[in-house]
Symmetry: C2
Subunit: 577 residues, 2 copies
């Protein structure tokens, strides 16, 4: 059993992209100067999105599916240029893949390249279904949604348990991985002994049974002329197993008890393998489970319906995936690209939508659960209902008082502020005339650090011009990781601490602002769609004694979980769908 | 020749959806009460997007392509819920379509349902291409991009000419349509006489020549045993013509001169048919042109390259489409769904990207050109470079002074304001204490009209509560089309005109605001991504004598064309890519 591979591949893609985006800074700066173009926040996000879509594309050889996966599941924001950029990266992946497959055509690279660009080709299936078949197909979808939601629920519990175990140190982590792998090997080897042998259909001739690596019918413990159907599924590569189980016109090939055992062991293994310290994915285990579920349903319903069992397997896989991952368009395209059968499209779409709807009634998608467990500040696309009843001003008031800087600030104050707070952005205020106040903008921690490092200080409170700063600071210097304030601060003399910094050239004078009465729900949508890092809250009223800023919100502040920490009474309201 | 059908179908889809969204108001209000849920701006846009994707889906039987078309080309904003909503609507379309095709299987409905769900099936093509073939394929892409850009340029000129003719009245419109159709019929009938007859390949037996509606080889003016290859292309339905020209292993079937004539006449007809008063589309004419272009290139390059001519035709069609429409992912998927050959995917992606890049170097996409000619306020996804050099405050200052209302306003003032301006939204100001000012929010014209119609006036300046308004006004009443102010105003008595309206319950207190120094480029992105109708500009400085609002911008104000009208000196800067 391999563990599914899209997880590691997506990781590798995203990490490579991130690495590339950071190539312009730090120790590679001198050598990779051209990479400085990626040295801003937006381009880095774009590159990571491209990396993730390339990973999916490489795992499933599904270029369009990869683009849509990134669009539907990975990115919290999207701009039209990103569409053709991800498309370009998956196109490159697929062209390179195709080149490798061509090189490996005659088996030079082990099993790589088997199946060409389409992993589970079922294009030879002639699909026959009629209006009357919609009822059993609906059943596949509904049950798939329920099973998917159940899978998410159990995986959530297992992952929480694993988090506790993994927190105990490396040894515990290793022991857990070892225990799971011993259990996996034992289970996979011993279970096929539990089922009886099946006689080969003479129509297959020499193809049944086989003893080699590949082939549909594994002899295992059976006499010649017989095959072990469970071994055929368990002792093959995942790709072969999926092809076997998707194959049509093979209603009698697998026994009900073998399928039940296969389904059960994959459920257990899928659940217990995912969180251990071994790279593994979600797609392939769920596809295998789903196709077994589809075939089981086919055997159960065989008396009433005459749909092909292979079709049931495909639909079962789609239903379970959608029930667990809750994607629609991207799953549909990935499925299309895996199976190469366009005629299955309408019925697959139908099943996907039903399973997603049913699953959504129970719990969030598996990706949301994992992100939540890892504590990543992923903003969900749909704000919760109760967010409408909370104003951003109230949310900001529940935080510690906002730390602001003046537009010409003493060096000692800047050092003090950087030391006492971990914030990455500070609102800059100004009072140009008595009674007139100004929210001048937002200055980033990294820019303040760059100024301190270069000691670009003024002896008096004069205003500098932007070109002066441009001459001194390159954009690469300003975008660098800032390092520790303490290291920089100890090098400053008392005279320097008494000098001034003019923040005019370093301040973003047009940060996104919202009025304090705006609902958190509306702010979350703005935050997500515009891909913000900081959102400044301005007061509703303007007057001489009113400060021009109320607070500042970040992604972490807007996460439902964190808001509920400060406002627990909101929790008893339901989520919008 | 049929004219392409995605144009009308997309229109019908979008119009039906719009109709549905307006069903909750006006004369259908009583009967279709449930439709009131669609009675807001956001849902109406969503429905129109769903309608457009359903139209594309129905035209090409491409459900996923339809979703992506809407995503890439139609929608100026996108939210994740929209993805599965459009997906659901195209899934419904495709299930219904499949039902109809099943009913019509035995030819009961004319030619409907021919070809099943896949229009130009080329799945039997075994694609063979190698790394060495990338060079001619690149040539297909580059030339396709150039030709597509040229097509856009000429179509632009033709449409401008047609706009002049159509403006002369209905008779001119009719005469134009008649002239084009006479020219089309004459050209299509007479041109095949210009090419010599081709002897039938004996391998085809009785299939060549044919005289009926369908079939690959039209006899036309030729003796028995011969066929007219140009007639085979011109006198078939578009679907048959495309299938003919895409067919593989048919290098000798079409003569170079026939293909050149076919390409030429389709160029001329495609260009001259699009703008006339007849529903027509862009996709099919361009696919046909492109496939002819591909075959012509194949014949020219035949000496050097051994790629199949049918493959050239497919790639040529993709290149020309991409060169003219500049879509990537959606075109790729539509192509996949039209041709049902997944193995073509990598090479199609490659050609699409090249043609798009080449085309973008010359002019905008054909859809942008058409939208621009129709004067629709479509905000482009990429702001122009020069927009970075203009602040929204300057833009607002170039407009007439913003018209504001007080939060408790005299009826006569409201009537006067509504009469004197066509605006749909008005900022509402308040001065709760001396020296303290407040931008209370934005009130919509339709809400003011609703208040005037119901005569919900106050005799003194008191503040009403929101529940009082909720009791009096249903959400449907507030969302209704407002009608003419003059009709409402004449019914008001002088006493009523002297009374007050409290705008508190009708004001959106958290409109999107930006500071006056924000660049227009940044504002455009915000406007588009958050799907705004109005954007309020607030001042940079706050003080006792400074008004809390600088101006208000709408979609029209942010269109590049309109900004350049007020700031022509910005025009000589280039566009960002």
């Amino acid at each position: 059993m391999d563990l599914g591979k899209e997880g590691p591949l997506v990781h590798i893609g995203a990490c490579l992209a991130n690495l590339l985006s950071q190539g312009g800074e730090g120790r590679w700066r001198l050598r990779w100067r051209w990479l400085r173009y990626f040295n801003n926040d937006r381009d880095r996000r774009d590159l990571i999105t491209c990396g993730a879509s390339s990973g999916v594309c490489a795992a499933f050889r599904a270029p369009v599916g990869g683009v849509l996966f990134a669009l539907e599941e990975v990115a919290t924001w999207w701009r039209s240029a990103l569409l053709w950029r991800t498309f370009f990266s998956t196109a490159t992946v697929v062209v390179v893949l195709r080149g490798f497959i061509e090189v490996c055509r005659d088996g030079r690279c082990g099993m790589f390249g088997e199946g060409g660009l389409i992993l589970f080709d079922v294009s030879d299936v002639t699909v026959r279904y009629h209006v009357g078949d919609l009822l059993p197909v609906t059943l596949v979808g509904v049950l798939g949604g329920v099973l998917g939601a159940l899978y998410n629920h159990v995986l959530h519990q297992v992952l929480r348990l694993y988090n506790l175990i993994n927190a105990k140190g490396r040894l515990a982590k290793l022991a857990l991985a070892l225990a799971v792998s011993v259990f996996t090997s034992a289970g996979l080897y011993l279970l096929p002994f539990a089922v009886p042998c099946t006689p080969c259909d003479p129509a297959f001739g020499d193809a049944c049974p086989t003893v080699g690596k590949s082939g549909n019918f594994k002899q295992f413990n059976c006499p010649t002329g017989y095959y072990n159907d469970l071994a055929s599924l368990l002792h093959a590569t995942n790709v072969d197993a999926t092809r076997n189980i998707f194959s049509t016109g093979t209603a009698g090939e697998f026994r009900l008890d073998s399928l039940l055992i296969f389904f059960g062991i994959y459920c257990v293994l899928g659940l217990f393998t995912f969180g251990i310290a071994v790279p593994s994915g979600l797609f392939l285990p769920i596809i295998l489970m789903g196709s077994a579920y589809g075939r089981i349903l086919a055997l159960v319903l065989a008396r009433f319906v005459r749909i092909d069992h292979g079709l049931y397997a495909v639909l079962g896989a789609a239903a379970l995936m959608s029930g667990s991952m809750r994607m629609t368009v991207s799953l549909c395209v990935i499925f299309l690209e895996l199976t190469n059968n366009l005629l299955l499209l309408p019925i697959t779409m139908f099943v996907l939508l039903i399973a997603k709807t049913v699953g959504d009634a129970f719990n969030p998608s598996i990706y949301e659960i994992i992100l939540d467990l890892k504590g990543l500040p992923f903003l969900e696309p749909k704000p919760e209902t109760w967010m409408k009843d909370l104003a951003v001003g109230e949310l900001a008031a529940a935080k510690p008082r906002v730390v602001t800087l003046q537009v010409i600030e003493k060096v000692s104050t800047v050092v003090e502020v950087l030391r006492s707070t971990p914030h990455n952005g500070f609102p800059v205020l100004d009072w140009p005339r008595p009674g007139v106040s100004e929210l001048h903008g937002l200055v980033l921690r990294s820019h303040l650090m760059a100024v301190l490092k270069k000691r670009w200080f003024l002896t008096d409170k004069r205003r500098t011009e932007e070109w002066e700063a441009r001459e001194r600071f390159s954009s690469t210097e300003l975008a660098e990781k800032s390092g520790s304030i303490d290291e920089v601060a100890v090098q400053l003399t008392p005279e320097e601490l008494d000098m001034y910094i003019d923040l005019h050239p370093f301040t973003n004078t047009t940060p996104y602002t919202v009025v304090e009465t705006m609902s958190v729900a509306k702010a979350v949508v703005l935050f997500r769609t515009c891909a913000l890092r900081h959102m400044l809250i301005i007061p509703k009223f303007q007057g001489p004694e009113i400060a021009p800023i109320v607070g500042i919100l970040t992604r972490q502040d807007l996460r439902a979980h964190n808001i509920l920490g400060a406002f627990p009474h909101l929790a008893n309201k339901r989520k919008v769908h």
